[in-house]
Symmetry: C2
Subunit: 211 residues, 2 copies
């Protein structure tokens, strides 16, 4: 199937969202935990976490400024400057998915979606107890992306938890061992199966390939 820019602009709204949200490939499924200044916890699923740097670790999350669904997350991060990123594992994808509903202000999304809050390391934002690989971040930068009218919040890593069975003696993290899942588009979830690993690529060691 071929679609030009014009075809896409003329496509039904829902169809366009489903297609365009899926074409960049698999996305990570993460739950973001936050707390408002008056102490109310929130959790919401994001597929837009992106790695930005490794000293000690910078990660961005992207959302629309007018997003009803993720408004609480963004407000909370701006209020107290802290958030957590928690892997979604296969055994709670349904709970995680439904955190994407637009809940009334008096609802605690953790309770409503059957996810327990967890507080660790004196860090004042909730982790997701069921998540085995999770980290806490401090807000350090916020960018407006003009062309698509998005906001990227950038956090610096403060605390990191990795399950011992998901990291080997070469420091490779195995996302299949932790049962971490990915998401495609808005609502399709994928399990992961390791199919290959290759060394750091040096020009002198690149195999001879046939075209």
């Amino acid at each position: 199937m071929y679609l030009s820019k014009t075809d896409i602009l003329n496509t039904d709204h829902v169809r366009r969202l489903l297609i365009i949200n899926a074409i960049s490939g698999i996305k990570p499924a993460n739950l973001i935990g936050t707390k408002s200044s008056d102490g109310r916890a929130n959790v919401a699923i994001f597929s837009s976490v992106v790695h930005l740097g490794s000293q000690p670790g910078y990660f961005g999350i992207i959302t629309r400024p007018d997003s009803d669904i993720r408004r609480h997350t963004m407000e909370n991060i701006n209020e107290n400057g802290l958030f957590t990123i928690n892997h979604v594992h296969a055994d709670f994808i349904e709970n995680a998915h439904y955190t994407s509903a637009k809940f009334s202000d008096d609802i605690n999304e953790f309770e409503r979606c059957g996810l327990a809050e967890e507080y660790l390391y004196d860090f004042d934002a909730p982790f997701v107890k069921a998540s085995q690989l999770k980290f806490g971040l401090k807000l350090v930068e916020q960018l407006h992306i003009k062309s698509s009218d998005c906001i990227m919040l950038i956090g610096e890593l403060q605390h990191l938890v990795i399950p011992d069975n998901a990291i080997d003696d070469r420091d490779y993290i195995d996302l299949a061992a932790s049962d971490t899942v990915g998401v495609s588009g808005l609502n399709n979830y994928y399990g992961l199966e390791k199919i290959g690993e290759f060394p750091y690529a040096r020009e002198s060691e690149v195999p001879e390939f046939k075209g």
Copy 2:
């Protein structure tokens, strides 16, 4: 395993890169095709493609300004303003991986890595022939991320190709049907298996979960 920010800063450089590049979860494996102003084609693997908007489609790619490996990609996009994003499928992950080597200036990464260039729709940047799901973009914005000293290039969708067997009558794209792969960290590749789909989440339709 627990690591504080201080632990991470005191960790060996390679170990830190391996861990921090992997903790955000699964990342999409995409090949970016570009062409310099004097007509030299380039292809390089990126795991940092991120969806930013859907009308008609905005996508960002993130890299370091001082990256030797991806320098040609960034230079070419700045020169001619066009690039392609091409899914990596399971049958050519090794070819795709080795595009991450830092090649000499006179090397055509397509040829050296056994990947054929393809030109479609009068678009002046190369697609990857072996890739079934691919799209062409026009550079519309460039942002500097100060905290981690990264560059995000933002492209607007111009042309989109989706294999007919990978999209169903509900407009869901099936990344398992297209054999699209994901990457963890710097060098671990994962196949995808669909494990769940859920409807658009409305508060009134959220199931009763037990905590």
